[in-house]
């Protein structure tokens, strides 16, 4: 339990205290709860972090496809802040990690220039008392469900952290004008292709860099999300998310699975 001053609001202190005194809360389903227990972990508490961030759109050249770096930074920093606070709550509870992490973005009445970024999950602790903190000495985070966490443990791997890379890209408008000339033909649209390719690569590379910092062996469950948020259809955020993992043991306890044919509708 750390006594370092952290970033969390007053209201959190009291709630975490109750959790430290023995009550656990978890947003895992009953199935996930039972599977976490199977691999020797116990839920400690529901943890969350949030940040309201100014994400106003920056000026850009309409005719050029380019990354909007200020926006990329904003989207990244906002999520990092939310994740960091969630990790701090987990650290307060003496947890080894957080499973089932969900990242959400909420827009309220204040319009498109600001949004609330939220990270929530269930903090867990290993029952054998051996620390499972990651290479940076912090609780691991992962967006794995209880079922995926159980399955991962059967393969001898351990999550290190939820890794993400983001890129906010503006697609040139002139590119659209050029395409109108080619309407009806079966032809590749080089501007679009190039722009989207580059954006996705940037997002994935940044995600991999985070995994490298955690000295991970690999990343599982990677998904790429594309959202325009509130910026109109020519500006898209590419977000790559995954869980970085390392091999902790050579034993693979995953028994040969039984094959079934379900008779239910």
């Amino acid at each position: 339990m750390t006594n370092e001053s952290n970033d969390l609001p007053q209201a959190t202190e009291h709630r975490l205290e109750e959790l430290e005194h023995g009550l656990f809360t978890s947003d895992l389903s009953v199935n996930e709860f039972l599977l976490i227990k199977e691999v020797g972990f116990h839920p400690v508490g529901f943890v969350m972090g949030s940040s309201i961030y100014h994400t106003g759109i920056q000026t850009r050249k309409w005719s050029q496809s380019q990354e909007l770096t200020k926006l990329t930074e904003a989207m990244y920093n906002a999520r990092e802040l939310a994740m960091t606070r969630m990790e701090e709550e987990a650290a307060e509870l003496g947890a080894d990690g957080v499973v089932g992490v969900r990242l959400d973005v909420n827009y309220y009445e204040w319009g498109k220039d600001a949004a609330e970024f939220i990270a929530v999950g269930t903090a867990v602790k290993a029952e054998d008392g051996i620390s499972r903190l990651n290479k940076l000495g912090k609780p691991f985070t992962s967006d794995l469900s209880g079922q995926d966490f159980w399955t991962l443990r059967q393969t001898g791997y351990m999550p290190q952290g939820l890794v993400m890379g983001t890129c906010v890209y503006h697609i040139a408008h002139r590119g659209l004008g050029q395409t109108l000339g080619t309407t009806g033909q079966n032809v590749e649209l080089p501007n679009f292709t190039q722009a989207l390719y580059e954006a996705r690569e940037l997002a994935m590379t940044r995600m991999q860099d985070e995994a490298t910092r955690l000295e991970a062996t690999g990343i599982v469950g990677v998904r790429l999300e594309e959202k325009s948020h509130q910026w109109g259809s020519h500006t898209i955020e590419f977000l790559a998310l995954g869980t970085a993992v390392t091999k902790t043991s050579d034993d693979v306890t995953l028994a040969k699975p039984t094959t079934i044919i379900s008779l239910d509708n």
Partner: protein, 278 residues
């Protein structure tokens, strides 16, 4: 010396025997009503529990006029109206279940609506009890939104549900001041005051749920759901509701369930809907 094993009854034989029995006068009376599916009922049966009665509880609590207008901080009238409405609805549900001889209510469907003038909470579920009269304890009746299957798995693992815990907080979202702040500040910065307001409200809802759990002397809250969003009738007001089932260990320690892994050979199929006819 043992004789040959008795012939296995097939499904067809069971159905025939069942339908033949319709002609006879019924011998066992039960009067049981239940909204559980047959799967849930079979799950309960496997741990020696049975449904008893369909039960419900409803409560409406008013919110005095004017509380949703512009303001700052928490809308206490709304938070307390919600808490009271939920408590009253649960009390009624549990009382009905107890009168029917139930030990608890499972699969509770929860409908909670916040209107500008009142909060309405409706709970419907099936009261259940152990089949064996000897196994019936004198504990207070629990309510839970866990399905029959989740209840069964929890009990098999050595845990028991104690009740539903909920916590709510309603706050004014920062708004008017937001516009001026955005103009003054450059991009890519956090808006710390606003962050604190929303964060605190969310934490308050969770904390109230925890307190409710502690009052029931539970060790944990599982399957927590957090619902949040602006009110449809007042977009500047935001509500946070946390809800979960309170549990504690009933056996000495957690019992491992030893799951096996399976690979399904089903392809995904599109369900045919008979209601599309006519």
């Amino acid at each position: 010396m043992s004789g040959p094993p008795p012939p296995r009854t097939t499904l067809k034989d069971e159905v025939r025997r069942a339908l033949e029995s319709l002609a006879a006068t019924p011998t066992t009376a039960s009067g049981v009503t239940s909204d559980l599916s047959i799967d849930e009922e079979l799950n309960l049966h496997s741990i020696g529990w049975e449904p008893v009665a369909l039960v419900s509880g409803v409560s409406l609590h008013s919110i005095p006029f004017g509380y949703w207008n512009w303001g700052q901080g928490e809308i206490v009238a709304a938070s307390s109206a919600f808490a009271t409405a939920f408590t009253n609805a649960t009390a009624r549900l549990v009382r009905e279940a107890g009168s029917a001889g139930g030990h608890g209510v499972v699969g509770v469907h929860i409908e909670q609506t916040v209107h500008s003038t009142h909060v309405e909470v409706t709970l419907v579920g099936t009261a259940v009890r152990p089949v064996d009269p000897g196994a019936r304890l004198g504990r207070s009746v629990f309510a839970s939104d866990l399905s029959g299957r989740d209840f069964t798995m929890l009990m098999v693992a050595g845990w028991e549900p104690l009740g539903l815990a909920t916590g709510a907080s309603f706050v004014f979202a920062p708004r008017r001041s937001m516009g001026t702040v955005l103009q003054q500040q450059s991009q890519n910065v956090e808006l710390t005051n606003f962050t604190e307001a929303m964060y605190s409200a969310r934490e308050a809802a969770m904390q109230r749920m925890q307190e409710a759990a502690l009052e029931m002397q539970g060790t944990g809250v599982v399957d927590v759901k957090v619902m949040e969003g602006p009110m449809s009738f007042a977009k500047h007001a935001v509500g946070f509701i946390a809800l979960g089932t309170v549990v504690r260990l009933a056996k000495e320690s957690h019992q491992s369930i030893h799951p096996t892994t399976v690979v399904s050979l089903n392809d995904a199929s599109v369900a045919f809907d008979a209601q599309s006819l006519g």
